[in-house]
């Protein structure tokens, strides 16, 4: 198990290194010079050169890469080209919204999907199963902003239980959670629908395995086999999807952030790209890549915790 974790950790470090080079190069070759963008069309050549020097754009690419990466390692992400404030501070502010939102939404999705998936799998082909499958079909087909608008109409405008948008900060924990509730539900519903379907089909595949028949021959009831022998064995595909969903929720919430006026990472990326604030884009993308790779690492560890065949050495 330790050797397994160590090899995974090594591959994590290598992935990060490769990703940082790729991100740097892609952003470097992207058209658009931040200095000329900032100064506008009528910029003087010498002002442009001065600004480029100030932004650190006048040195060679390898040098810029090294500066960027060493800075990042020490927590210094540089200054935003546009706002002249530390990028690390900008990201940290946004992360305090996006990360809790992603975790909240994913937790809701899992809380919905597990009972629904187990319920449907235990009733294969019967009315309950068909009902769950039909609702998940709907959940996948309808976009999350539609849910978002529906939730705002019902719970914010009609019932006035929640505010329609904005984020009060974490000074009051309750207020923070309350503000994130409607967005989290809107984000969670489609994810829950996907997860339910994955869990159900994975459970059904597992229930067709020979060892389920063996378990039944031992005298276990259908329900006992489902819980004791099928659920854990069906977890591998479910974990894979959960990992992918977390990565998506972290940065993919831009539309929901827009609907609820939340200062999240998605909006930050969008703004930075439109303003050619490359240093922010680079940093956020690198952060997201790090999050994805880290989540994959955790999912890998979870696989090994579940399946002894993955952790034993031949």
């Amino acid at each position: 198990m330790w050797l397994f974790a160590l090899t995974r950790l090594t591959s994590l470090a290598i992935s990060l290194l490769v990703a940082s080079v790729v991100i740097f190069l892609v952003i470097e070759v992207a058209p658009g010079d931040p200095a000329s963008y900032m100064l506008g069309l009528n910029a003087q050549a010498d002002t442009l050169a001065a600004l480029r020097a100030e932004l650190g754009l006048d040195v060679s690419r390898p040098e810029r890469y090294v500066t960027w990466i060493t800075g990042m390692l020490s927590g210094d992400f540089g200054l935003s080209y546009t706002y002249r404030t530390p990028v690390s501070q900008m990201i940290a502010d946004r992360l305090w919204v996006s990360l809790p939102l992603a975790v909240y939404a994913l937790a809701l999705a899992v809380l919905i999907a597990f009972p629904a998936g187990l319920f449907a799998a235990a009733r294969r082909g019967r009315a309950g199963d068909i009902g769950v499958m039909a609702s998940t079909q709907l959940g996948i087909a309808l976009p999350n902003f539609w849910f978002a608008m529906l939730l705002v109409l019902v719970f914010a405008i009609q019932l006035r239980w929640f505010s329609a948008g904005g984020f009060p900060g974490w000074e009051s924990l309750g207020a923070g959670i309350k503000a994130l509730t409607l967005p989290a539900i809107a984000l969670a519903l489609p994810q829950a629908a996907i997860l339910t379907r994955v869990l159900r089909s994975s459970l059904l595949d597992t229930l067709d395995e020979d060892y389920i028949r063996t378990a039944r021959a031992k005298g276990l009831t259908r329900r006992q086999t489902l819980w004791r022998h099928a659920l854990r064995n069906a977890m591998i595909p479910v974990l894979t999807i959960i990992g992918l969903q977390f990565s998506f929720l972290l940065a993919g919430a831009i539309i929901i952030e827009q609907v609820f006026f939340l200062p999240g990472l998605g909006r930050l990326i969008f703004q930075s790209i439109s303003q050619r604030d490359l240093i922010v884009v680079e940093s956020v993308v690198m952060l997201l890549v790090f999050a994805v790779i880290l989540v994959n690492f955790l999912v890998d560890l979870a696989y090994a915790a579940i399946d002894p065949r993955l952790r034993t050495q031949r």
Binding site: D210, G219, P308
Partner: protein, 542 residues
């Protein structure tokens, strides 16, 4: 009174009858074999008894276990009996165990499940019973610790685990559905001995389901022969073997011991030469900086196949047979040595050598693309030719091979799902024949077939060889079938050829102890007639 008494059992699945008026009984201490071809309803009888029929099944009649009709019990009452009053062992030990739980936990689960309410059995006693049962089935905890996972065990060991799960509550009835079909002959012999011993020790009744009449002869006190959901013959094993009354039973016996007639063929120069071939597989490192250990799947194999020769290759699983076949076909690179066909080295993806060499594999169900017509499937090897026939010539070639394998040329229009296992294997042979190869490799090509179909395919293979001037390598994990279709045989063990020679000679007077072990372990089919039986010592008490 019988322990298990099945009376006029009828089973339909979604309205389609699968068992009809089936009556059968098993007494304590008795082994009853239920035999028949695939689809005859053997497994359905077992599943009906244990109450695990597939959805949509309806039953009629009675299944009495110790006087209680199991068909009238509800699910909870059946759960209380499964694993407790009756245990079941399944065919496929590789998949019958939960891969994520230790074997101790899985065997102990049967105990824990049925212990509820019995306060007399303490945890310590339960652990002791678990250890005792594992030891009884040949998995002593000091050698095979109960915290092992299924993937750390061999097929035979896994089957022992399944048996331990079924017997730990000392059920009165044990049902074994093809318990040794997936195992090697020597392992099969040991598992059969274990089952026999358990029946005696615990005074259990054993309902044993098997298609293999040689296994039946070795095990059963009584035999029931099932055909299309009906029992056609039932009686004491001795009587049934002595004089099978029903023509179907007789046909099964004849087919089981079938040997094809091999016409003498002139053997010409060498066709395939395998010279000092080895194949190493790197294994996982044991430490970060230690060199990788190497597993030698083939250790310097050398042999020739002459033109027109019929060569057998025998060995248990893991002996390197499959690696050798892959190497000969050029599917897998070799680590050392040389393989030449007609003087040309065999290389991966080289159509020049593959044109002269084709293969027929074990599974007639999964080796065809279900979306292609048979004509397209069997003409596939044409892509190996530089100038493949087209139009009428192509149709003629397809019709010719279909006729050669005793099928109608019209069948080529159909799709593969329309055919039975035996017909599919004929189609596989047609596919191999169509480009007139010099050599065909039959890799366990008759293993998945019923005995009567197997006999027909063996005859077909024996007949095609002289007709097409064909040499073949017939690969098989057990010896009995090889005897009927080969001139010469090679025996492999642990990546080496341990013996080779004329088939009859090797099987009758094996020099190597391994082959003697294989020959002894293989269950033998008794000849008809009482004299023959006592001579063979099948029933010494007769």
């Amino acid at each position: 009174m019988s322990l298990l008494d099945i009376r006029a059992l009828g089973v339909t699945i979604r309205g389609i009858p699968v068992l009809h008026d089936l009556s059968l009984s098993v007494a304590r201490g008795e082994i009853v074999a239920l035999t028949g071809e695939s689809g005859s309803g053997k497994s359905m009888t077992a599943l009906a008894t244990i109450g695990l029929l597939p959805q949509g099944a309806a039953t009629s009649g009675q299944i009495l276990l110790d006087g209680t009709d199991l068909l009238t019990l509800d699910e909870a009452q059946m759960c209380a009996r499964r694993g407790n009053a009756m245990g079941m062992v399944f065919q496929e030990p590789m998949t019958a165990l939960n891969p994520l739980q230790t074997i101790g936990r899985q065997v102990g689960e049967t105990l824990r499940l049925h212990r509820a309410g019995e306060t007399s059995l303490s945890s310590a006693q339960a652990d002791a019973l678990l250890a005792e049962t594992l030891a009884r089935v040949g998995l002593p905890p000091d050698r095979v610790p109960p915290d092992r996972y299924p993937h750390q065990l061999s097929g035979g060991q896994r089957q022992r685990v399944v048996i331990a799960m079924a017997i730990i509550r000392r059920p009165a009835l044990l049902i074994a559905d093809e318990p040794t079909t997936a195992l090697d002959v020597t392992t099969q012999a040991r598992i059969l001995d274990l089952l026999k011993g358990l029946v005696t020790d615990y005074d259990m009744g054993l309902l044993m389901i098997t298609h293999d009449l040689a296994v039946v002869a070795r095990m059963a006190d009584r035999i029931a022969v099932l055909r299309k959901g009906e029992i056609v013959e039932q009686g004491a094993a001795r009587d049934v073997f002595r004089q099978a009354g029903h023509p179907y039973t007789r046909a099964l016996f004849d087919a089981s011991g079938h040997r094809a007639t091999l016409p003498k063929v002139p053997q010409r120069g060498p066709l395939l030469r395998v010279q000092d071939v080895s194949r190493d597989y790197p294994m996982r490192r044991t430490g970060l900086f230690r060199p990788r250990p190497v597993f030698q799947a083939l250790k310097g194999i050398s042999f020739d196949i002459r033109r027109g020769e019929r060569l057998g290759l025998v060995g248990e699983s893991g002996s390197g047979k499959s690696t050798l076949i892959r190497a000969i076909l050029g599917l897998d690179p070799i680590s050392g040595g040389q393989i030449t066909l007609d003087g040309r080295p065999v290389r991966a993806g080289d159509p020049a050598t593959r044109r002269h060499m084709q293969a027929v594999f074990q599974d007639p169900y999964s080796s065809f693309n279900p979306r292609h017509s048979v004509a397209r499937l069997i003409s596939e090897p044409f892509h190996l030719l530089e100038d493949p026939p087209t139009g009428a010539a192509r149709q003629a070639a397809i019709a010719e091979v279909m006729t050669a394998v005793n099928m109608s040329p019209k069948d080529a229009e159909k799709y593969i799902h329309a055919f039975s296992g035996g017909q599919r294997q004929r189609i596989a042979i047609a596919r191999a024949l169509i480009i007139r190869p010099d050599l065909i490799l039959f890799d366990e090509a008759v293993s998945a077939l019923d005995v009567r179909v197997r006999a027909q395919i063996l005859d077909l293979i024996a007949d095609l060889s002289p007709r097409y001037g064909l040499a073949y390598l017939f690969v098989r994990h057990d010896l009995s079938v090889v005897r009927g279709v080969t001139d010469r045989v090679l025996v492999m063990q642990a990546g080496e050829i341990v013996e080779q020679g004329p088939t009859g000679q090797v099987l009758e007077n094996p020099a190597h102890p391994y082959i003697r072990e294989l020959v002894d372990a293989a269950p033998r089919l008794p000849e008809f007639g009482a004299q023959a039986l006592t001579q063979q010592g099948v029933w010494d008490d007769a």
